[in-house]
């Protein structure tokens, strides 16, 4: 084809034109990959499962006595009374038991701060400069962290792993299934879950960097740091968009002649030289994706006043805060959080370990809920993640004692649907709605109690855990430790 073209052009084809033609033909619009480390998670094949006669809490505020739940093809297939059993279904007697959506922890450091927590494994905080939006938590996750197996045993089906909070911009978070025995983090990644960005307010960044006599050293330094970075990101985003706009005119279309004629046609339109892509900046790439709504902001922030300022920053730069994390004072600004549809991921009762946690109260979660804002029970702890149901129970009981009317079915939103919303996966999980993922826990008793334990945990319809049935530790780290050999 090219030979023929040049042949026709003959003597008219000067050497410069030939070069231009080759350059034109080589033109490809540069588009940084948005998913260079794609999920390789696969749903284990499993027979349909039908859980009979349990008390079912659906995660959307509904509670149904003596009800069946059918999970088939990895999804919730039916919830109802006396469901007909499909062929080959595994029947589970759920009488006296409770069935809920799997718990989703919106704030975990499993894998990035694994057990054992020694210097060699401390991979959660890239505390080398206040903006490390370029780092991704998944690149620190150690799939052999023994914490994953403990989390599943606590009814966790999805967890959102974040970098630490030393930095104004800590890096990207990643949403994982606790896949036991996983060899790679890619095989734990929830397919299609959006990326998130961890940001941090308050004492941590100003202490870490102020202590080094660099910025930020104060609350106002924090705000300046975020604003300057977002302003740069706006410019970065503008440059790329301008480049793509120009490049679109040089991008070969399917039905367009290639090579010389095409270049000539463009020349006629006065397009000039093909555009050169801006340099990639991984830090700015993440922030630009925040501005474009592709990456969800997860902002560590304790104090009400600081959260209010953060919401203003989001308005100034045109993005939304998906969730504040820790949010110890969210109960003071439930109205603002409801207005901006920003979730609060909270502990039930942590308080007092630093000044910005001094006003923690036991009713934070129910008060946020009662103001019509999105309340989430989170762990931030390899211990707490094992019993988030108990944390929800404490919050529910304290809310009721304060005079609020909240059902336990409503409270379960704090554990599944609301965290799913905050991390952008509520369309596929977080409640027992037909068609959603078969992420389901069977509890020995009412899970809003100290005594209930998860008896079975299903992720995408496959049983990942059954109490008392774990024969070998899934983590290579724990395999073959001498006490285990002795206990055989």
């Amino acid at each position: 084809m090219r030979t023929w073209t040049l042949g026709i052009a003959g003597a008219l084809a000067a050497a410069t034109l030939a070069t231009a033609a080759i350059a034109q033909e080589a033109f490809r619009t540069v588009r940084p990959p948005t998913d260079p480390y794609p999920s390789t998670y696969t749903v284990p094949t499993a027979a349909p499962v039908i859980i009979r006669g349990a008390t079912v809490i659906d995660g959307e505020g509904g509670e149904f006595a003596s009800t069946d739940v059918l999970i088939a093809d990895g999804k919730i297939a039916a919830v109802g009374q006396a469901l007909p059993p499909p062929a080959g279904a595994q029947e589970i007697d759920g009488r006296g038991k409770f069935v809920t959506p799997g718990i989703i922890d919106a704030h975990s450091h499993l894998g990035v701060y694994p057990s054992p927590g020694i210097q060699a494994s401390s991979d959660g905080n890239e505390a080398t400069q206040p903006n490390t939006a370029e780092v991704w938590a998944e690149h620190s996750v150690w799939p052999q962290d023994p914490g994953f197996s403990r989390a599943v045993a606590g009814g966790i089906t999805t967890l959102h792993v974040l970098p630490g909070s030393a930095n104004l911009f800590g890096g990207r978070g990643v949403t994982l299934h606790p896949v036991l025995g996983a060899r790679t983090v890619q095989s734990m990644k929830v397919p299609g879950a959006p990326y998130t960005l961890k940001m941090a307010c308050g004492e941590n960044p100003s202490r870490v960097y102020g202590g080094r006599n660099s910025s930020p050293a104060t609350g106002m330094g924090n705000v300046a740091g975020w604003r300057q970075s977002f302003a740069k990101a706006q410019e970065y985003d503008r440059k790329w968009k301008e480049y793509w706009r120009k490049a679109a005119r040089f991008e070969p279309k399917e039905d367009e002649p290639k090579g010389f004629f095409r270049a000539k046609a463009k020349d006629k339109k006065g397009a000039g030289d093909p555009p050169v892509a801006p340099d990639r900046d991984l830090e700015m790439e993440t922030l630009a994706a925040v501005l474009n709504g592709e990456i969800l902001v997860q902002w560590h922030c304790y104090r009400a006043d600081e959260m209010a300022t953060a919401l203003d920053i989001a308005k100034e730069f045109g993005f939304r805060v998906a969730a504040f994390h820790h949010a110890v004072e969210s109960y003071k600004i439930g109205d603002l959080l409801a207005r901006d549809q920003t979730c609060s991921a909270m502990w039930a009762d942590w308080w007092g370990f630093k000044l910005e946690a001094y006003d923690g109260i036991r009713e934070n979660i129910p008060f946020v809920h009662a103001r019509g804002a999105c309340a989430i029970v989170h762990s931030d702890s390899e211990v707490g993640i094992q019993r988030l149901n108990q944390e929800a129970a404490k919050a529910l009981a304290d809310g009721r004692r304060a005079g609020l009317q909240i059902s336990r079915a409503d409270a379960w939103r704090w554990l599944s649907l609301n965290p799913a919303t905050a991390i952008g996966i509520s369309d596929r999980t977080g409640s027992l709605k037909v068609g959603k993922a078969g992420d389901v826990v069977v509890w020995s008793a009412d899970p809003l109690s100290s005594y209930a334990v998860a008896e079975r945990v299903f992720i995408n319809g496959a049983q990942m855990y059954e109490r008392g049935q774990v024969v070998a530790p899934p983590s290579d780290f724990e395999l073959g430790q001498s006490f285990r050999e002795r206990a055989r």
Binding site: W351, E363, A397
Partner: protein, 418 residues
């Protein structure tokens, strides 16, 4: 209107500052956890001033007694938060004063928690209103393997709330201790032996102008009674091999008394611990190999120890002793029950057992005639996270269920301010 508000405010101040005087109280018809026998399904508890007078079914109300209807309620002894830094800091981080944190190389064994305890610390009321009436507190000196001297305090907020000072000496004999002894367990035990020798030779050795082999004079002096077997060593250790070494050390030093705090791998040496009569303070939520000395941590540690005959106390692990959450003793105990510990043993593990192990079993930890009237009335099973106290007495004095947190709650309550 304003006058009425002022009157209410004045009443609140009075309630906060001046606890009601002791009185005669009959708590009637509750589910009574005595710790001395079976739980009474429907029992009465009578106390006058600071002492319990009678516990049983159908106690007649003495003339002038205040009668509290506890039908449908649970009635228990107050809990003892068996290990924490409660009252040693108002705020533990943020560069605020924290008396639980002591980094000086000049003093370690001599550090005394009782001298730093603040009965007005917010955490005291925050902990109390969840049903904890007493706390065992420990300092956290870091200069040597001796972290200082612990105390038992009442959580009534009173000026004289230190009940026992110089109750025990904290001794680090795990990874932390090894680090402080120079980086190795191989040096840890010889260091301990040398320190005890320094203490026993106090004051003669120091009076002669000689230094201690490893201890400064101030620490040798503080350590002396413990080195002579007159007090308890609270040993922080986790690994089974380290616990075995401790038991060997105990055999060689039969006059010394030890209580283990931590003991993540204690279940592996449960029989030896039972035989040596060494109690263990365990955290029933520790089930991860979070340090290399805890590879065998498991959720049913408390149940396995109890089954073997070890006296079990439940409290946060050495890494989680920040006093702000000492109130979670009940949740910890409930989780031990979920993992096999009988309910009665779990409740004793946060009340009677710590009272006995720390030498106040004659006064505290159970509901029996003559005991101090630390009485809590609950809206449900106290080991369940859904339950909370509805009334609380410390040494017979009712203490309002108010804290800085409940004030914040009331200020921002959407149920009150729609």
């Amino acid at each position: 209107m304003k006058a009425a508000i002022n009157a209410i405010a004045a009443a609140l101040v009075m309630a906060a500052v001046c606890p009601a005087a002791a009185e005669t109280v009959l708590v009637r018809g509750g589910r009574v956890v005595t710790n001395t026998g079976a739980v009474l399904d429907k029992g009465d508890v009578l106390f006058t001033d600071s002492r319990i007078v009678a516990v049983g079914p159908s106690i007649a109300a003495p003339a002038g007694a205040r009668v509290i209807d506890a039908a449908g309620r649970w009635v228990t002894p107050g809990a003892i938060a068996a290990m924490s830094e409660l009252g040693l800091s108002e705020i533990s981080g943020s560069g605020a004063a924290n008396d639980a944190s002591l980094a000086s190389p000049l003093i370690s064994a001599a550090a005394e928690a009782s001298r730093a305890f603040d009965p007005s610390a917010s955490a005291v009321a925050v902990t109390r209103i969840e049903g904890v009436t007493r706390a065992v507190i420990a300092p956290a000196a870091t200069g040597t393997i001796f972290s200082g001297i612990g105390a038992l305090v009442a959580l009534n907020g009173a000026a004289d709330s230190v009940q026992r000072d110089r109750l025990f000496q904290v001794l680090e004999l795990g990874e932390t201790g090894a680090e402080r002894a120079g980086g190795s367990r191989a040096a840890l035990w010889p260091y301990l032996e040398a320190a005890l020798k320094d203490a026993r030779e106090y004051p003669a050795r120091y009076a002669s102008g000689q230094d201690g082999a490893v201890l400064r004079e101030i620490d040798a002096r503080a350590l002396k009674p413990f080195a002579l077997g007159q007090g308890v060593f609270l040993v922080r250790t986790e690994r089974a091999a380290d616990i075995r070494e401790l038991l060997r050390f105990k055999r060689a030093n039969p006059n010394l008394k030890f209580v283990i705090h931590g003991g993540a791998e204690a279940w592996l040496v449960a029989d030896e611990l039972a035989a040596a009569k060494v109690p263990v303070i365990v955290d029933p939520m520790v089930n991860l190999p979070e340090r290399m000395e805890k590879l065998a941590a498991r959720l049913d540690n408390a149940a396995l120890l109890e089954r073997a005959g070890v006296r079990v106390i439940i409290a946060p692990s050495p890494g989680s002793v920040d006093g702000h959450q000492a109130r979670l003793a009940f949740q910890l105990a409930g989780n031990a029950v979920a993992n096999g510990l009988p309910w009665e043993a779990a409740f004793k593990a946060i009340s009677q057992t710590p009272a006995e192990v720390f030498g106040v079993g004659g006064e505290l930890g159970s509901l029996a005639p003559g005991k101090t009237a630390d009485v809590v009335i609950w809206d449900g099973d106290p080991l369940d996270v859904m339950s909370a106290p509805v009334a609380l007495f410390i040494a017979g004095v009712e203490t309002p269920l108010v804290s800085r947190q409940t004030r914040l709650r009331d200020r921002y309550n959407p149920a009150a301010r729609p």
